[in-house]
Amino acid sequence: MLRLIRDEVLKTFLKKRTYLGFGIILLIVPLIEIAMNLEGSHFITAITRTLARDFFFSGSLFNGWFIAYMIMNSLWLHVPLLISFVVGDQLAGEATAGTYRLILIRPVSRAKIFFAKYAASLIYTFLFVAFLACLSIGLALFLAGRGDLLVSKGEILVLADSDVAWRFMVAYVFALWTMTTVASISFFFSSFVENSIGPIVGTMGVIIVCSVITLMPIQLFDALRPHLFTSYLDLWSRVFAEPVDWEKIRTGALYLGGYSFASVAVAWYIFVRKDILS
């Protein structure tokens, strides 16, 4: 099984499309961070002017933590797109390349191949999120240094410099957990769509439709909202609160896990029974 996973990882990382996501992140994150850094204090004076009267801050509120926090806030749709680009191709890519006909005629069970590919998808997702985390936080701190973190989400909150690092770590763990759900949904589409854009369109379609329901202030959707995974896409941001509502985070994490499990279970059910006609 380990050798199967190793080969799937190898196949994934020898493909050009795998590096597109990394390339875009490598381009876009420095671009945003450098630009923000140039804009600098303008960016933040508006909010801080009102605050400065009532609070006392240590150092500038425009700092690396703030930039890294803004990056996390702004990429919540782009990262799923880039993940589905690679994960959606895991199974569908074999269909379009005609290589199902090579791998599924061998005395290895389809279930093993399926889980090797899912494992490779998770490994990719992990590396991608880790790359994003290291690059965005590392560069931001390098450019703008540390300081207290200003969080404005409904109400304004300032977290002390010493209280921020662990929050980023935990936030990225939850971001990874969320992206695992995105990857699982892509994998689900990949199991029965037999072209390369189908799984991407499917994944993004689900995210966009659910997000609309999540974000629209329509009462009819109220009952539905807590059950949609998109309500928990920004689960990570709950870590930047005081006090942290762990109960809410737990519920969200469970929902996300449930969606991942259901997606993969259905995908597995489809895949092992599927007629290979490509």
Binding site: D7, L14, T99, R106, V108, S109
Partner: protein
């Protein structure tokens, strides 16, 4: 002593949305056979092969490989079976060697020496580190056979491996098949839509048409059992009839439009007849030896499967 049956299908059938692509198919392939699986395009050859290699699920019937039912003991059934279904597709962005390594893992782990040996066997040495993207159709097809040989299977199933190749490529593949059968003692199931291709290499064969079995048996027996006759195009017709009568040759049919006779004689007798015709100053345009199996096959091919 009965020969060992390595592949057996029992009332095999596959239904697609509106129709049966294969129905009631009973094949028996013996150890050591080069088994020709003949049928016009759309007859159901690939569908059958996909079922045997577990790519698609039969709608009805059963498949047994080496005595193991495919439906319940897939791993054992496929342990000594491999093949190439339709055209040879690979991971184009990887080298041939890497492709074979990855497929080797799925075949239970194949060491480097063995892979190199197979690359040599199919005549791709020197190119194994090139990406498959750069391969010609013929090279891919040979690589396709190579991947089928990785785990040293006893039964190799090849689905129209010569399709789309130039005469040189066809000959290479044919020689390879003969080598595998004769020197490596492989059992081979070879599908084709050309009787001539099957005739050259197979000892047994089945003919499939519109998803159903039309004939199965020894190639020689099927060919011999089918009557031989000769088509003769010569004129004037009156004179030809007279000579045929003198020689006591039965006329099966005569086509007024083309002036073609169909004659009941053995191939060996044609030289004598032609000489007689020429002596009598008959204009001989064509003498074509025919076999009824070939005709039968041509007729189903011409009418087409759909």
């Amino acid at each position: 002593m009965n020969p060992e049956i390595v592949l057996k299908t029992r009332n095999l059938g596959k239904h697609y949305r509106h129709r049966w692509a294969v129905r009631n198919l009973n094949l028996e392939v013996y150890r050591g056979d080069v088994f020709g699986f003949l049928g016009p395009n759309g007859a159901g050859k690939s569908t059958t092969i996909r079922m045997i290699l577990s790519l698609i699920r039969p709608t009805e019937g059963e498949i047994e490989l080496f005595g193991y039912p495919l439906s319940s003991e897939r791993r054992k059934a496929l342990a000594h079976t491999s093949g190439l279904v339709e055209k040879a597709d690979f991971y184009l962005y990887l080298s041939a060697l890497r492709n074979l390594e990855i497929l080797g893992t799925l075949s239970g782990g194949i060491d480097r020496r063995r892979i190199q040996e197979i690359i040599d066997l199919v005549g791709l040495s020197g190119r194994e580190n090139d990406r498959v993207k750069t391969y010609s159709h013929g090279m891919k097809q040979r690589l396709g056979i190579a991947q089928a040989l990785l785990a040293d299977p006893d039964l190799v199933i090849l689905d129209e491996p010569m399709n789309g190749l130039d005469p040189q490529g066809i000959k290479e593949i044919r020689d390879l098949i003969v080598h595998l059968a004769r020197d490596r003692k492989k059992t081979i199931l070879l599908s084709s839509h050309l009787l001539s291709e099957i005739e050259l290499v197979a000892n047994r064969m089945a003919i499939i048409n519109r998803g159903e079995l039309a004939a199965q048996g020894e190639v020689e027996a099927l060919l011999e059992h089918g009557e031989q006759y000769v088509n003769l195009k010569a004129g004037p017709a009156e004179k030809v009839r007279q000579i045929l009568e003198e020689k006591g040759i039965r006329v099966r049919s005569f086509d007024e439009g083309t002036g073609e006779f169909s004659l009941d004689i053995r191939f060996e007798e044609t030289a004598d007849l032609t000489a007689a015709l020429v002596r009598a100053e008959v204009e001989v345009h064509a003498v074509v030896p025919r076999r009824s199996l070939e005709d039968y096959f041509l007729s189903i091919t011409e009418n087409g499967a759909e």
